[in-house]
Amino acid sequence: MSKDLRFLVVDDFSTMRRIIKNLLHDLGYPNVAEADDGNTALPLLQVGNIDFLITDWNMPGMPGLELLKAVRSDPKLAKMPVLMLTAEAKREQIVEAAQAGVNGYVIKPFTAVTLKEKLDKILEARAAAK
């Protein structure tokens, strides 16, 4: 699996961004950009040098679900792998995210192992689809 993947981590809490960034480093992905909500994330995505999006749901400004929908409706970004990493735990929400085209859903608090599992699963599925 390519370690040159460029990640964008979107979360309004800088502590959580730092945790995810550190975990990605540990997993061998040194290329991590950050944004604090959908509104700041979208322009970064549209510049076009992001390969993988990890986003929180509950954020001021543009929440993660809106960001996911925006990504899926943009022809240039539509195929971007998106992992939702959030404390939102309602079944309807998870179904909603799935219907909006999320590739994985990790509930907070989470473990490093869970994050790795879900990342690997998404990346393997993409490799197999190519």
Binding site: D11, F13, T15, M16, R18, I19, N22, L23, D26, W57, N58, M59, P60, P63, T86, A87, E88, A89, K90, R91, E92, Q93, I94, V95, A98, V102, N103, G104, Y105, V106, I107, K108, P109, F110, T111, A112, T114
Partner: protein, 245 residues
């Protein structure tokens, strides 16, 4: 209406009416009679307007009252419960972090002490003052030390990763605190609204709903009913695999 008010309002009208009646002036009589009826109707409309406004105020107050009851009976106790949970989370995170630091300190100390001991033997070896017995000891100790450094470094690395993960409490507790701040804002706005209703009848800004607007629900707090929530990652994985993800 006091007798004076009654007289002031209708006295002249009735006087003019009876003058017209005495004079047999039908036009004047009809005109005066119409004036009296109009006067009475105006009073009724005034009363009706006041009644409508009072009813509006009462309804608004009722709406506020029921929101206040909701706040007092459910959301404030909920908020207390949420803050208790934050307290518990921060307490656990602080202890876990300190546990890991306390576990890691002695590991670092042990490596440092072993290295010090080894380096004394190493210096003897370098200055060719080592006995064959000490040399054998140096080799044995070196082997053990190298293994130990590798294992201990791994353990320290794991502890550091664990410390990192533990900081996730800041996000979760922050979200809960933010929810409570929104609630406090709403209580303040509702009470303010109630005060302005009590002091005047003209308060109109009905922006309570603004405070209820939600962009997600935040972390589930044990002991609070959040509706249909999943029970951990396994639950989500099962749900998603059912949806083909």
């Amino acid at each position: 209406m006091t007798p004076e008010e009654l007289k002031a309002r209708y006295g002249n009208l009735i006087l003019n009416l009876s003058i017209a009646l005495e004079a047999g002036d039908e036009t004047a009589f009809t005109s005066q009679l119409n004036s009296i009826v109009r006067e009475r109707d105006d009073g009724v409309w005034l009363q009706l307007r006041k009644l409508t406004s009072d009813l509006g105020t009462a309804l608004e107050r009722f709406q506020l009252d029921s929101r206040l009851v909701d706040l007092a009976e459910k959301e404030v106790p909920d908020a207390r419960h949420r803050l208790d949970h934050v307290l518990k989370m921060t307490d656990e995170a602080a202890h876990k972090t300190m546990d890991l630091v306390e576990q890691s300190g002695p590991l670092a100390d042990r490596i440092s002490n072993d290295a010090k001991e080894l380096s004394e033997l190493w210096q003897q070896f370098r200055s060719r003052q080592i006995s064959p017995e000490d040399f054998r000891q140096l080799l044995d100790k070196m082997e053990v030390f190298l293994d130990d450094v590798r294992n201990t470094s791994d353990e320290l690395r794991r502890n550091l990763a664990e410390v990192l993960m533990t900081q996730g409490y800041q996000d979760l507790s922050g979200q809960i605190i933010r929810g409570v701040i929104t609630l406090v804002d709403e209580v303040e706005a509702t009470l303010g609204h109630l005060v302005s209703l009590a002091t005047s009848h003209s308060s109109k800004d009905n922006d309570i709903d603004k405070f209820r607007e939600s962009r997600g629900h935040g972390p589930a707090v044990p002991g609070i009913n959040h509706g249909n929530v999943v029970n951990g990652q396994q639950d989500i994985d099962a749900l998603l695999s059912g949806l083909g993800i």
